[in-house]
């Protein structure tokens, strides 16, 4: 029993140390990126390229996901709210759930898969094929050439994509409720306005911004610190997707607690 207890303690201690070391390396990388910010002429054009890539590459999947989310919310709300709940509540439920939760979280999770995996794989491959070493050997900074553009592109484009998702989700929820439920335009608009606060839109964007940070920083860190060949690239890629998805869910909870408590 005691031997087992010691072994468990040992394992836990190791895990804690490993985590602390990883946090330290992550912090060092963030500091490095802060320093790289002075090289505007290097990162600005690359940031624009990356943003364009993310935006164009993810636009349709984001619209697709959000339109289904909006429509399904409307249909389920219509199914649940029978009896003496007024039907205009469908409008409130669709708007609020899409803007507060479904838009940012679904887009965040989808993009954690799309962008997170891509960034981790790109940077991981560059690491194991010594392209990052080569960049440094040429006296150039990986932070300003590779990392800052990717993180900034996430911070810039993901909130924009979430805004599109919110609009699309509400529009498709509206359309679906008109088609399938006894809800008129006036009902839906009334319902949407009753519980609406301008802060709700901000909340959606703030969340998107945090999720973007989680995806950008985590996938760049994971890719950048890849070790051991093709297997290592695979590990960083899944690691980036899983870690940023979990982080998105944690941030989602935390932000709800911090920003929505009355």
């Amino acid at each position: 029993m005691t031997a087992l207890a010691i072994q468990v303690q040992h394992r836990v201690g190791r895990a804690v140390l490993d985590t602390l070391a990883a946090v330290g390396r992550f912090a060092a990388l963030v500091v490095e990126m802060g320093r790289g910010l002075t090289e505007v002429r290097v990162w600005l054009p690359r940031t624009l390229d990356e943003s364009w890539n993310i935006g164009v590459g993810s636009f349709f999947i984001v619209l697709l996901i959000s339109s289904f989310a909006g429509a399904v919310t409307a249909l389920q709300a219509g199914y649940q709210f029978t009896g003496n709940i007024p039907i205009y509540v469908v409008g409130s439920v669709v708007t609020e759930s899409v803007v507060l939760e479904l838009g940012p979280v679904l887009v965040g999770l989808i993009l954690a898969g799309r962008i997170g995996a891509r960034y981790a794989a790109e940077l991981g491959t560059m690491r194991v094929t010594e392209q990052i070493d080569a960049l440094e050997s040429l006296g150039r900074s990986p932070a300003s050439h590779l990392l800052i553009p990717r993180v900034l592109a996430c911070l810039l484009m993901i909130p924009i994509l979430v805004i599109f998702a919110d609009v699309m989700g509400v529009a498709s929820g509206w359309f679906a409720s008109k088609q399938a439920l006894p809800v008129t335009d006036a009902d839906f608009i009334y319902g949407a306005r009753v519980f609406w606060r301008p802060f709700d839109a901000w909340y959606s964007i703030i969340k998107a911004f945090f999720f973007a940070g989680a995806i950008g920083f985590v996938s760049c860190y994971m890719g950048y610190s890849t070790k051991q060949g093709a297997e290592g690239v695979g590990r960083s890629t899944t690691g980036a997707v899983v870690t940023s998805s979990v982080l998105i869910l944690l941030l989602d909870t935390l932000l709800a607690k911090l920003l929505l408590s009355v």
């Binding site: 960049l135 050997s137 040429l138």
Partner: protein, 255 residues
């Protein structure tokens, strides 16, 4: 001048470098021989600060690499060309853009006409046709990638060049061209270089001095003639094996 003193590096339980001391004089070409896996690449990477040593010092141009500020280190790296073992080309960029990144002087880098002519010169030096400029690294053979890597390393006219097995995997004709290029950079531009290689004949033809790295240390060092005459068992063992190998492989004979 590159001065390496008592350099040590381990990875986990494996001791790779264990007290390497080596000094490369201004304008000299030093060939570094050694069986694979002895840490030749690790040694080269430590020289430009890509790997941090556990112990010991590397001084290049009177600058202690470990103590340099970020700016000073990147300036120093600008004067050192590094040829990676597998080319390490940026695979999202074409050959022209890859070689252009070798222009470490920002003004030269920005001047497109200058860059075009310098890239063309460098590709010609490594015997690549001009059409290569527009190709992506994935469209090139391994040997071509390697030569683009050499072109990139010398594009900024570095004072030092570190070659990590520049001729391995090349056909005999191109290996000869690269050996001749190393020699020419040495004699015409006064480049100081370290060339890691398995090709003992190439090393003896191009290098001013030859060093043998085994078991984490420099086991022997001297001119090619010293080496051939050496009674040192480590040297004999290495040369013996290599000549046996090269006399049975078609690539190694009479180059």
């Amino acid at each position: 001048m590159i001065e390496i003193t008592d350099l040590a590096k381990h990875f986990g339980a494996q001791v790779v470098l264990d007290g390497v001391t080596l000094s490369v004089k201004e304008g000299e070409t030093m060939a570094l021989l050694g069986p694979s896996g002895t840490g030749k690449s690790v040694l080269l990477k430590t020289i430009i600060g890509l790997i941090r040593p556990d112990r010991g010092r590397v001084v290049v141009d009177d600058l202690d690499v470990a103590t340099l500020s970020r700016k000073a280190l990147s300036r120093l790296r600008g004067t050192i060309g590094y040829v990676f073992q597998n080319g390490a080309l940026f695979d999202s960029m074409n050959v022209f853009e890859n070689v252009r990144l070798g222009l470490t002087d920002p003004d030269q880098f920005k001047d497109l006409d200058f860059a075009r002519s310098r890239v063309a010169d460098c590709l010609a030096l490594v015997n690549l046709p001009a059409e290569t400029t527009g190709k992506m690294p994935s469209e090139l053979s391994g040997g071509m990638r390697k030569r683009v890597g050499i072109a990139r390393a010398i594009a900024g006219r570095p004072k030092y060049v570190l070659y990590d097995e520049p001729t391995s995997g090349l056909d005999p004709v191109n290996a000869d061209i690269i050996d001749a290029l190393v020699k020419r950079l040495d004699t015409e531009l006064g480049v100081t270089s370290i060339m890691v290689t398995h090709d003992v004949r190439g090393a003896f033809r191009t290098a001013d001095r030859v060093a043998l790295l085994t078991q984490g240390r420099i086991a022997a060092i001297g001119t090619p003639d010293d080496f051939l005459a050496s009674e040192d068992p480590a040297v004999r063992a290495f040369l013996q094996r290599d000549f046996e190998l090269s006399s049975t492989s078609s690539g190694g004979v009479d180059r």
